[in-house]
Subunit: 142 residues, 2 copies
DNA sequence: TGGAATTCAATTGCACACAATCTAATTTTA
DNA sequence: TAAAATTAGATTGTGTGCAATTGAATTCCA
């Protein structure tokens, strides 16, 4: 039953690593009053300014059951605005507010700090990033 | 602001991959009426038969706030038993029941099926496993 | 063109995660 | 040895994730 040993399971390593990384973000993001998933939404919006809930879901691989309440919390914090589209009333577009746009400056040093905190080597980054993105890509429809 | 681009963030890849993997377990584990974290607990118990809540937490890197309710659900399903230690009454030891032990046979083919479903290559396994476990190890105290 | 199918977001319900706090038991140490 | 500190687990509260369902809007197509 070697296959059933916890320590041999690659998937458990992924699961543990994901939570480890999130825990390293927590003190940095807590200072901005953001959670990690909320930070990911802000990242996407800093890049695109306006995105529909569906487009956000595709980028973050999250569905409306996760995003709708998360976006409501960001709206309460005045970082975003939810605007139902005039052209297609099924669509809700997420806009950055001025405060949301300003937060980008405060978040500018987070990637550097995380990389330092996690202690990623150049080799790790250069190996892991393309290999994992390749796995994600070949399951892109899920 | 290249660093703040979502697509450049290694940590987002970890986060997305973890959820992708869990989603591949779901149909297999659903047939056994287990969630992925519950499956991880069963894996640890199939290997060790009896573990304290603390020992489980160390292996899975989860705290009692997560484990206590999860273990209660496994106990309701009659897969485990929670037994407070006689020697040190602060400790709760988790025992496998007969049903819990029997479930191991039904789960025996899951690692193979997941590997197939995810399509991991030998190279991916041989590269990712040691590299990620090395990252986890150097943060082992968290 | 009008009913069927599809799409988008919201809602509901359940199960994690985890910070913070609490209680009880044990160990340390002054 | 008794008070202080530590430890183990439970509890509370907040915020995800995600399956399943719903409802409204739009598109398809016979």
């Amino acid at each position: 039953m070697k296959q059933l040993k916890l320590s041999n399971q690659l998937c458990f390593s992924f699961y543990a690593l994901s939570r480890l990384v999130t825990s390293h973000y927590q003190p940095l993001l807590g200072a901005l009053d953001l959670t990690y998933p909320q930070y990911l939404v802000m990242l996407a919006l800093w890049e695109h300014d306006i995105l529909s809930v569906k487009a956000l879901g595709q980028q973050l691989m999250l569905d409306s059951g996760t995003l709708t309440p998360l976006l409501k919390r960001l709206e309460i914090k005045k970082l975003i605005k939810r605007v139902r589209s005039k052209e297609d009333e099924r669509i809700v577009n997420i806009h950055l507010t001025t405060a949301g746009r300003q937060l980008q400056q405060e978040a500018a040093d987070i990637p550097e700090k995380i990389s330092c905190s996690m202690g990623f080597t150049t080799e790790e980054y250069n190996t892991l990033k393309p290999m994992i993105d390749n796995i994600l890509k070949r399951h892109a429809d899920e």
